[in-house]
Structures are given as structure tokens and as C-alpha cells.
Symmetry: C2
Subunit: 221 residues, 2 copies
């Protein structure tokens, strides 16, 4: 398994699903999608533990979105969502990730029909922790994600609430673009997203059967 530094170094693309938890769709007044949609974050936005704080660009309303991340272990195309063994074998390991988002930048882009790349792509906008061995997450659709700001729980939900499951996500992405070893996939955020300001302390992590997965913990300013 790659180290976390290698995960950052070897990552060429980060593909992320939008609106994949029903209650999160509602909180942003968005429409529930009939099919999954995706966007890219640049690998230069990855922030490792101890690389420093998340940088809030001036005038940006900075939102957190805690998500289960997947590190791809081999080159795959045209995966079949019903071939569980097939798409599971494309997963090398898991990450705990925070999809930081310039919410006002994104809202303006949405209004104008412009791309999301800037809103999602600033340096430090993708804190990650892990990698978490596949053997530790027997069922990726039964993981509790949480995120706290200054000690207050803001997000806490189980990945069983995903609208589109991981097999569907990997199948859909890999029918458009080849997934390569080292690519990262973010699987969507549950409800509770919100703003942070400079100095706030974000703690995020995941639990399986109520038990914290230590290597998946993030603490970042």
C-alpha cells in the first residue's frame, strides 16, 4: 500500500461526485439528480497532515464537505456496477477527505453556467488522511463519517445513505475516462456542510461499528 505522501505524489486526477446524499441535496436547495454527475479537483489541491492550514482565499466563503475517498489501484475502463468483484478489485485503499469548496464561487459559477474547477481547486482545498487498508473497511457502504468544527459536530452520517453506490460511481466514471493507478475518487458528502473561518479547527474522521479508524483522522486549521 502506498504511503500518504505517495498517494499525493502519484495522483493525476481526483474525480468527485456531486449531490450524493439526499439530505445534503436539500440543504443546498439543489435538485436530486436522476444520474450521478462528477467534477475534477486538481491533484495540486491535496493537503497532507502537517503541511499546514487550509488557506482561505480572500472573499471566499469556505465550506467543508467530509467524504470517503478511494485510491484507485490499477488502470480500469468500462467497469460494470453489477460486477462487484470487478470494481472492488480496482480499489487500492480508502482515504478520509474533506472536499473544501468556495461556496460563493461555486454558486456564481452555477448561476452563470461556468465550470466549477476554480471553486473546487484552490491549493489546500483537499485535506486527506490515510490510507486505510481495504481490509479495515469490509463494507464501504457502512462507514460513519463525521466532521467537527471547534469541537461541535457538524456532519455525522453513514455512507449507507449514498444515493449512488460506489460501484455505480466507478462504472460511470470509467465509461467516460480511464481510471489510472493513483487516481482518487471522492464519493460525496452527507448533510451538514457549512462555513469555516481562519483559525477554526476542523476534526474529521470515520468510524466502523462505532469504532474510530485511527489512520483516517484529520485535524486541520
Amino acid at each position: 500500500m502506498s504511503t500518504l505522501a505517495e498517494v499525493k505524489q502519484n495522483c493525476r486526477k481526483v474525480m468527485c461526485i456531486g449531490r450524493n446524499y439526499a439530505d445534503h441535496v436539500k440543504e443546498l436547495n439543489n435538485q436530486r439528480p436522476k444520474q450521478p454527475f462528477f467534477f475534477l479537483k486538481p491533484s495540486s489541491s491535496i493537503l497532507l497532515p502537517n503541511e499546514g492550514p487550509i488557506l482561505r482565499p480572500g472573499g471566499v466563503n469556505l465550506h467543508f464537505e467530509v467524504e470517503l475517498g478511494i485510491v484507485i489501484g490499477k488502470t480500469v475502463r468500462d467497469l460494470d456496477e453489477n460486477d462487484t468483484e470487478g470494481w472492488m478489485s480496482a480499489i487500492e485503499s480508502y482515504l478520509l477527505t474533506i472536499d473544501m469548496t468556495g461556496r460563493n464561487v461555486q454558486e456564481e459559477a452555477k448561476k452563470k453556467g461556468l465550470p466549477w474547477s476554480i471553486a473546487k481547486g484552490f491549493d489546500t482545498f483537499l485535506p486527506i488522511a490515510g490510507p486505510i487498508a481495504k481490509s479495515k473497511i469490509e463494507d464501504p457502504h457502512n462507514v460513519e463519517l463525521y466532521l467537527k468544527v471547534n469541537g461541535d459536530v457538524k456532519q455525522q452520517d453513514n455512507t449507507e445513505l449514498m444515493l449512488f453506490r460506489i460501484g455505480r460511481q466507478l462504472a460511470d466514471i470509467s465509461k467516460v475516462m480511464t481510471l489510472e493507478k493513483g487516481d482518487i475518487v471522492l464519493t460525496g458528502t452527507p448533510k451538514g456542510v457549512g462555513p469555516v473561518v481562519t483559525g477554526d479547527v476542523i476534526e474529521a474522521g470515520l468510524r466502523i461499528g462505532g469504532k474510530e479508524v485511527e489512520e483516517g483522522k484529520i485535524k486541520v486549521e
Copy 2:
């Protein structure tokens, strides 16, 4: 200078400017931007010469956009558009590129306020030729780009028509995300974009002072 295969292998992100030629803005009924905007293409969309044809996904209205490409030669942040020596030194070489676009997919994304990543990101959607040594392009704002379909000239304009010059593009991108060695920047397409169907032969290239730059030629189906 890297070989073209190394350019593909080393590329982590491809940042592209939208609406950077006035007549192209008009032909798509778009608004002329007050400031440049950008989107990401995945490096997995790069198509080298002799790697085969551009693949048109079913139901996709596939458009060509010929563009001058830039290969970044070193890690840079916060470039200053007025520091010509500074941003010029970040350029390793040039490419001739075609930013293939699923126009109907993009139009639907624009209407719904959704990201452009899929419309721009299919495998084979970024044919490239080169690299072209910096010494061969003394002034990147005085290069004639052309693109023919089945022998008919569809695009032919000079890069002097760019609304936002390359220094401004690199400055704006590098204020959002670190530009790393190997990254590629596409500088926008002139007017004349249009559809191609399977079997069409696209030829594209660039001329300086009326003279073809041989290593910048693309011929692709």
C-alpha cells in the same frame, strides 16, 4: 525538452481558458467575460499521434477547438502578469492541441449549472502534437493556428486575437492553484469551431510568419 510521450506521462493537470477569442464567444452566443475563467481536463484525455482516432461517445455532438498549448517547466505560484521574464521562464515548451468538446453535454451542463468535467474529459478528447521548442516561437501572441476537416479550412486565426494574454492566464491560474512541472495550459480557441463525425479527418497545425511548424502538425480521425 521532454518527448511528447513524456509530456503525456508527466502531466497531472490540464487547465484551459474558456472564451478567449471574441469571435468565438459570439459564435457560441456566450457573454464576453470580464475576467478569464478556467476549467480542468483530465490528463487521461491526452491523445498522442498514432494512438488511434478520437472516440466519439454515443449521442455526443463532438466539436473541435484548436488551441496553442503550453507545457509548464517548473513549479510556480502567484505569477505576475507584468513580469514577462517571470511567466516566460515558467514555460518549458509549446504544443498544438485540440480541445475536443461534447458540445451538447456542455450545453446541458451550462443550462443546469453543472460542472464541465465530463463534456471536456472523455478519453481521446485532447489530441496533442509537439513539443515545440520555446526558441521556435519567439512571440506566442503571433502564431497562426489552423484546423481543417476533410481538407476544408474551419479555423484559421492568429493568437494575437486572444482577449487575455498568456501572462494574464498563467498569473490567474497560479494565484488559485500551484502550476507544477509537466502541467499543460490551453490558451483558448479562435472562431470556427464545429462538429465532426466518425471518419472525418482533422488536420491542425500552426504557422509562424506563414511558415508551417512541422512538429506542431496533427492529423487525426
